[in-house]
């Protein structure tokens, strides 16, 4: 208790300001120094330059027949390329967009209607949906079916049933020729 009283007296004493100021500034500068030292450690955990260098993939679409689906790797993830049939394009276009969980018209998801390019990672918890191989369960909408928790996607890769919140994502890509695309 004697100590407590003593502290109150010295704490209020004007002579303490100089020491307080020194401690405060020294601590602040030291804090900045420590933060600066931590920065490179955290920074080293970012994707390294060789990892980032893998971030574009070029694909030749010429051998892909109508109705055929192709899987390519981009940044280590599967990208689904679907050479859609005219019927599939038609069903994808004939949907009432406002009824969808993640409303998007088919036209906003393709650059050329016959080529659907989407990231084949279910937006629920990251599994790869079935539907790329012949004989796979494509689900009632003729698109993709995720075996993990039963999410069902249509021929535009939009979520129609199941727990996934969003449509299968469209990666950034561009046509570099009539039948070649560059993803990323």
């Amino acid at each position: 208790m004697a100590d407590l009283a003593h502290q109150n007296v010295t704490g209020a004493h004007p002579g303490e300001t100089r020491r307080d100021f020194l401690i405060l500034t020294a601590t602040a500068i030291g804090g900045v120094g420590v933060a600066a030292a931590i920065w490179p450690f955290i920074g080293s955990l970012n994707p390294a330059r060789d990892t980032l260098a893998l971030s574009t993939t070029e694909v030749d679409l010429a051998p892909v027949q109508v109705g055929q689906r192709l899987t390519v790797a981009w940044r280590g993830k599967p990208v689904f390329i679907d050479h859609r049939t005219p019927e599939e394009i038609k069903t994808a276009g004939n949907v009432n967009v406002s009824d969808l969980r993640d409303p998007q018209p088919d036209s906003a998801r393709v650059k050329k209607p016959e080529w659907l390019v989407i990231i084949g990672v279910c937006t629920h918890l990251g599994c790869i949906p079935l539907g790329q191989k012949t004989g796979d369960d494509r689900g009632p909408y003729g698109g993709w079916f995720c075996p993990c928790h039963g999410s069902i996607y249509d021929t535009s890769g939009r979520i129609r049933q199941g727990p996934a919140p969003l449509n299968l994502a469209v990666p950034p890509y561009e046509f570099t020729g009539d039948t070649t695309i560059k993803i990323g």
Binding site: D3, Q7, E16, R19, P40, F41, G43, A48, D50
Partner: protein, 420 residues
């Protein structure tokens, strides 16, 4: 000292402290801890060594996240760290040069102990734990040096493991066992990596024992006499926390100079060539901090004896508390040892020079003389000096020697500051 800060935080701390006296322990060991008031800057190197140990562990863990311990990929993964990983070059240079800094600090710390007799009764175990730390550091540094799998890594691993082949009869069996194969290879690299990750944490444990032993009797001091009361001491905080921090800032400037301006000055360029088991480099040298032992090894023309003396030069340090027969700790009061001490410093530097240069002509002679002197110093001069030397009279107390008025009025300065 009871925690008297008001408020809820203090009540929580008191609740915990009553059950787990951790804060009270810190308060006792890092705040009030009575420290000789006359410690010089030579006493900064203990805390610096502790900080370097932490720096090495932290940089090491982040490097381990990027490194591949496989003979086929190790070298490339290190180059990837240098070129592709964000700040990877900095982490690796900090780790690489950190090893050199760590050894430099520990050697200064060790020689300070030798000069001021810090190993003498009652600090023998404190000293022995220090020597154990040094041996663990050498093992860790050696195994770490193998990991980049460059030419020097590979051939250092070959040469050092082959030291054990000097053991009669079972030597070659032991070496094959160490390698996990018939040459240094992928199994060797894998086990070295595992051990290189493990040993630093064992060092941490031994450092804790070192600190427990230190705090039992407190630091030695430049006068080498015991603290006799509060007039001889200052509380650790703020006096020595600030002094240690100041020393740290000066040290970080030296360390940063190497990391940022001369990162490869202390290493061998040969290690940037990938390991080639079919070709030994023309001139093999260990890192500078191992050169004296290497020089001793090379100076002895007999394989087994060379190995024994090289290991013996370190293990000899365990006996120092008993080899030194002088009752006086500090060299300040030992008119002959004061000079003989520097002969050992010169001797070790000479051994370093010998280890660095190819063994031809003068180098061989100097190496043999310096090796001989090293053992003479500890085994003959240490016991002899204690008997022959007439120490100068010791001061009555630390305060009477270092304070103008003999500390008569300054006893109160030994009490902790109320509000530092």
């Amino acid at each position: 000292m009871a925690d008297t800060r008001p408020g809820a935080a203090s009540r929580v701390i008191r609740w915990i402290d009553h059950r787990l006296p951790f804060v009270a322990m810190l308060q006792h060991e890092l705040y009030e801890y009575p420290t000789p008031r006359n410690l010089s800057y030579w006493w900064n190197f203990g805390s610096l060594a502790g900080i370097m140990l932490v720096v090495m562990i932290v940089t090491g863990i982040f490097l381990a996240m990027q490194y591949t311990p496989h003979a086929e990929y190790a070298f490339d993964s290190v180059e990837r760290i240098m070129r592709d990983v964000d700040y990877g070059w900095m982490l690796r240079y900090a780790h690489m040069n950190g090893a050199s800094m760590f050894f430099a600090i520990v050697y200064i710390h060790l020689f300070r102990g030798l000069y001021y007799g810090s190993y003498k009764q009652p600090r023998e175990l404190l000293w022995i734990l220090g020597v154990i730390i040094l041996i663990l550091m050498i093992m860790t540094a050696f195994m770490g040096y193998v990991l980049p799998w460059g030419q020097m890594s590979y051939w250092a691993a070959t040469v050092i493991t082959n030291l054990f082949s000097a053991i009669p009869v079972i030597g070659q069996t032991i070496v094959t066992f160490l390698w996990g194969g018939f040459t240094v290879g992928n199994p060797t690299l894998n086990r070295f990596y595992a051990l290189h990750y493990l040993l630093p944490f064992i060092i941490v444990a031994v450092v804790l024992l070192h600190l427990i032993a230190l705090h039992r009797f407190g630091s030695n001091n430049p006068l080498g006499i015991d603290m006799k009361g509060p007039q001889d001491t200052l509380p650790f905080h703020p006096y020595f926390t600030i002094k240690d921090l100041f020393g740290l800032v000066v040290f970080l400037m030296v360390y940063s100079f190497f990391v940022f301006y001369a990162p490869n000055f202390l290493g061998s360029t040969e290690n940037y060539i990938p390991a080639n088991p079919m070709q030994t480099p023309n001139h093999i040298v260990p890192e500078w901090y191992l050169l004296p032992y290497y020089a001793i090894l090379r100076s002895v023309p007999n394989k087994l004896l060379g190995v024994i003396l090289a290991f013996g030069s370190i293990f000899l340090l365990f006996l120092v508390p008993w080899l030194d027969t002088s009752p006086v700790r500090s060299a300040r009061f030992r008119p002959i040892y004061k000079w003989v001490f520097w002969l050992l410093v010169i001797d070790v530097i000479a051994l370093g020079w010998v280890g660095f240069n190819p063994p031809e002509g003068l180098v061989v002679t100097v190496g043999q003389v310096a090796t001989l002197y090293y053992f003479v110093h500890f085994l003959i001069l240490f016991p002899l000096l204690g008997k022959l030397e007439r120490p100068r009279p010791l001061p009555l107390s630390i305060s009477s020697a270092v304070l103008q008025d003999g500390g008569a009025q300054l006893g109160r300065a030994g009490a902790p500051m109320a509000n530092p």
